[in-house]
């Protein structure tokens, strides 16, 4: 079964502080992993995917197959990063499953 766990519902940091949003997954094969973001009053959109291995808006995420994790990190949070973040998994069946999400608030 495919499952995504985001252990933190809420995360609050100050501007300029590092931020890490945790994501663990359960899947026996080779997963495709994504981070999606939803800013206030906007539609859900892709932030980054593990196969790209790129940094988007200063965010990076590394797939750790040993720990079955795909944590999202940014060294210096900005106020505009405040949003809802969802980790998602595609287990190869085209079925895209999401975690419960983490609401990030970056305080001035």
């Amino acid at each position: 079964a495919q499952r995504v766990t985001q252990p933190e519902k809420l995360l609050s940091v100050f501007k300029g502080a590092p931020v890490e949003l945790k994501c663990n997954y359960s899947y026996s094969g080779s997963p495709e992993l994504f981070w999606y973001v939803q800013y206030s009053r906007q539609r859900l959109q892709l932030l980054l995917r593990h196969i790209s291995r790129e940094s988007i808006k200063g965010f990076t995420a590394d797939l750790n197959k040993g720990e079955t994790s795909f944590h999202l990190k940014k060294p210096f949070a900005q106020e505009e990063d405040s949003a809802m973040y969802y980790c998602a998994l595609n287990g190869g069946s085209e079925k895209l499953v999401f975690g419960k999400g983490t609401k990030l608030t970056v305080n001035p």
């Binding site: 994504f34 539609r43 892709l46 995917r49 085209e94 079925k95 895209l96 999401f98 419960k100």
Partner: protein, 113 residues
């Protein structure tokens, strides 16, 4: 720009009504999805479709059905709406294949009274 358009932004329906939520995408995507989004529960997959007339159940299909008669359109049907189906419904679409991005609609806020 990829467009995924949901027919209504807000809907209010009565208990027991049959409700249709429509979604149209303009990028010739093979895959289409219906999710409901609830605070604290995240996005839960109701149904998805990987081709015309093909569908698979997601994690919470009970009380819902879907229809995909044309590639660009994916409909979610609540056969007999109930108050516990009050929620935000999100439609998404994507190409098949490894690592492809899903594009989302703006959402339909359904209230069942």
């Amino acid at each position: 720009d990829v467009k995924v358009t949901q027919s209504s932004r807000y809907l209010v329906k009565r208990t027991g009504e049959k409700v249709f939520l429509e979604c149209v995408q303009d990028m010739d995507h093979e895959n289409m999805f219906w999710y409901r989004q609830d605070p604290g529960l995240g996005l839960r997959l109701i149904y998805f479709s990987y081709d015309v007339k093909m569908k698979e159940k997601g994690d919470i299909p009970e009380g819902y059905s879907v229809s995909r008669e044309k590639k660009e359109r994916f409909s979610l049907i609540l056969e007999s709406a109930s108050t516990n189906q009050t929620s935000m419904y999100l439609c998404a679409s994507s190409f098949s294949g490894y690592g492809t991005e899903a594009f989302f609609g703006q959402g339909t806020r359904l209230t069942v009274v």
